[in-house]
Amino acid sequence: MKIKFLPIVAGAVLALATAISAASAGTLDDVKAKGFVQCGVNTGLPGFGNPDSTGKYTGFDVDYCRAVSAAIFGDPDKVKYTPLDATERFTALQSGEIDLLVRNTTWTESRDVSLGFAFTGVNFYDGEGFLVRKSENVAHVKDLDGASICVQGGTDTVTGLADYFKQNNIKYNPVVIDKLPDVIAAYDSGRCDAFTTDSSALYATRLQLKNPDDHIVLPEIISQEPLGPVVRANDPVWFNVVKWSGMALLDAEYLGVTQANVDSMQESTEPMVQRLLGVGNNDFGKSMGLSPKWAYNIIKGIGNYGEVFERNVGMGSPLKISRGLNAQWTKGGLQYGIPVM
């Protein structure tokens, strides 16, 4: 009698567990059903993901969330944001708390393979740089021998820093702090001689310091930091939606389609433009589960890659980052859109 209980109850419990875990549908269907994209962004990095005075998120990364929303709903504002710090971001994506992570996250092999993620492309080619006080008269990273360097824990910047100083046989005193505002406060208080992170973020950080003019970003870059949007690897349908939302931005810039001229470009006779904008009987959205006008909606909603770049981090923003590696390949950069055809 008593022996029989165990297998029955355990069996029932296991059956229930299987039923629950199997109930989850694809991310795209989930997103359509709930009516918005849950997007993981930075807790506060001006130019990339930052709440403005009214609490509305803006930035380069934020616009990628909005591009996905525009592709699905035809409206770039159907996004709910989850601000995440460096440590929380991956767990939030793994657990399904967010649908998409666009948080200046570096594409690396281990993140792609063992974390169960898929990077949908590179939206920003970045590299690790250093912020120092002008008064220290530091011209090169190698001058930082024996310096205290503030760095945010749990980032691949920590690894880049260790690699570079070991390779060049220079000593340094790392000050590793977990939250970005705490690291910046420590650097600003004089605890460190230098602060290191992705150089794009250094420009934003500099503006947050007490006296931005006392600090400069060293021109040198010590590592490759390709940043991009991330999704879970187990959902190829969703992966394609996010990947092609990014490609549409690049293709539009390459083809000369802008937020301002996207309506008139529908009259264009160029086949590439017609395919991108879903003109005539071109319907590349259907196979992705989107409308034929998916790319049109993205460009109408937020503009092309160049416009998104200039508005948030480029010359039209306080950060004034030059296109550099992020120019189109035709202009000497690395950005290369895969054609819609």
Partner: protein, 394 residues
């Protein structure tokens, strides 16, 4: 058949389900099965979801190269494994907790006694201390030390110095580091032997005082023995001790022994914050000892200090120790606030490991196991101490 017999005999008319023994067994078995089932479900569900999302699991990542530089008490480099990094974090947690417990206890006892002082100024100052510190969240106390006190110190270039070897700046407190030669073992040995000798002197003195009533200054005698024996051994072996003096470089002071701003602010904050609670516990403990005890001690001619040391505190300890244990546990747990200032404790290092590896479940399990282990060790130790000082009923 009487009612009383119904439960005992197994007459065919009574359903076995109504037997208390059977019922108890069934209920307990069902509960155990339900709990096991819940655990099995959680484990199974996690495993299914991890596999579904292609997330690696298991503790194999602990052997991988960590690739990060973090300053810890155990030497740690980017070449070391994640496992060693977590171990270094654990050691850092233990070091800061143990030191904070020692300082908090000393400060707490002194302030607790001062709260009952007959001197108005001492009483007022200690009250202000207790009321201020125990009403501020510990995180703010840590940040106060880190960002308001230590960061306000001058830069290494204009450091406050004492001679050329000791300096205090916003990079920490630097002092010469002792380097022990191999023959230093003899000095340590002599120190240990002198402690044993001092212990026997104390025993002899107590026994004599019991027998004849003649007091003996065993503390001073013991101190003299320890100092003399240790010094003799040290000099006789050729003073095998040298110092590594910190050297000023372009940016920093390097070498020597360093108290980093992170460690110092965390230690001071934990110790002084918890000391305010311990002071209240000590005060309550002293007040719990009947005033008649003090009067009786005075009547015997004991001086104030002696009364406190020999009569009041030993009795107060019985009231003090149980809540004191909770404060020690609080110190261990609050040490995880280190993440705010970048002291490489178990949590901070764990987060540095968690992020590149993505092994959230494993790292959280490690955190919970280690904190639980430290807390249980502390509790067990304090319970043993509590049993020793408990009132022995005769």
């Amino acid at each position: 058949m009487s009612v009383a017999d119904a439960g005992r005999t197994s007459s065919p008319g009574v359903n076995w389900l109504y037997k208390p023994a059977v019922r108890q067994f069934v209920i307990q078995a069902a509960l155990v099965v339900a709990i096991l089932g819940l655990i099995a479900w959680l484990v199974h569900n996690t495993a299914v979801n991890l596999a579904d999302r292609h997330i690696a699991s298991g503790f194999g990542f602990l052997n991988q190269r960590s690739s990060f530089d973090i300053v810890t008490f155990l030497p740690l480099t980017a070449e070391d494994s994640y496992g060693r990094a977590i171990l270094a974090g654990l050691v850092d947690t233990i070091i800061v907790s143990v030191l904070a417990i020692i300082i908090a206890t000393i400060v707490g006892v002194l302030v607790g006694i001062a709260r009952l002082s007959s001197n108005w100024l001492i009483r007022a100052l200690s009250t202000v201390y207790v009321e201020t510190l125990r009403n501020i969240p510990p995180l703010l106390v840590i940040l106060f030390w880190y960002l308001a006190v230590i960061a306000a110190l001058p830069s290494p270039r204009d450091a406050i110095t004492l001679g050329s070897a000791i300096s205090l700046s916003n990079r920490g407190f630097y002092m010469p580091k002792p380097i022990f030669g191999a023959p230093f073992v003899w000095t340590v040995g002599a120190f240990a032997i002198s402690l044993v000798v001092a212990y026997f002197v104390k025993r002899w003195a107590s026994a004599r005082q019991m027998r004849t009533g003649t007091p003996f200054h065993s503390f001073w005698a013991g101190l003299a023995i320890v100092v003399a024996l240790t010094l003799i051994a040290f000099v006789a072996t050729g003073a095998p001790l040298s110092f590594e003096v910190p050297v000023k470089t372009r940016f920093n002071v390097n070498g020597g022994l360093t108290l980093s701003p992170e460690f110092t602010s965390l230690l001071l904050a934990l110790a002084l914050y918890t000391a305010s609670f311990i002071a209240e516990i000590v005060r309550a403990g002293i007040l719990a000892v009947s005033h008649g005890q003090t009067e009786a001690a005075r009547a015997l001619g004991l001086r104030h200090g002696t009364t406190l040391r020999l009569v009041i505190l030993p009795q107060a300890l019985r009231v003090i120790v149980p809540p004191l244990t909770s404060e020690y546990l609080n110190i261990i747990k609050n040490s995880s606030l280190a993440v705010a200032v970048g002291y490489a404790d178990l949590v901070a290092v764990g987060q540095s490991v968690l992020n590149p590896t993505g092994q959230a479940i494993e790292v959280v399990a490690i955190w919970m196991t280690f904190y639980l282990g430290l807390s249980i060790l502390t509790s067990v130790g304090m319970n043993i101490f509590n049993r020793r000082i408990a009132l022995t009923e005769r």
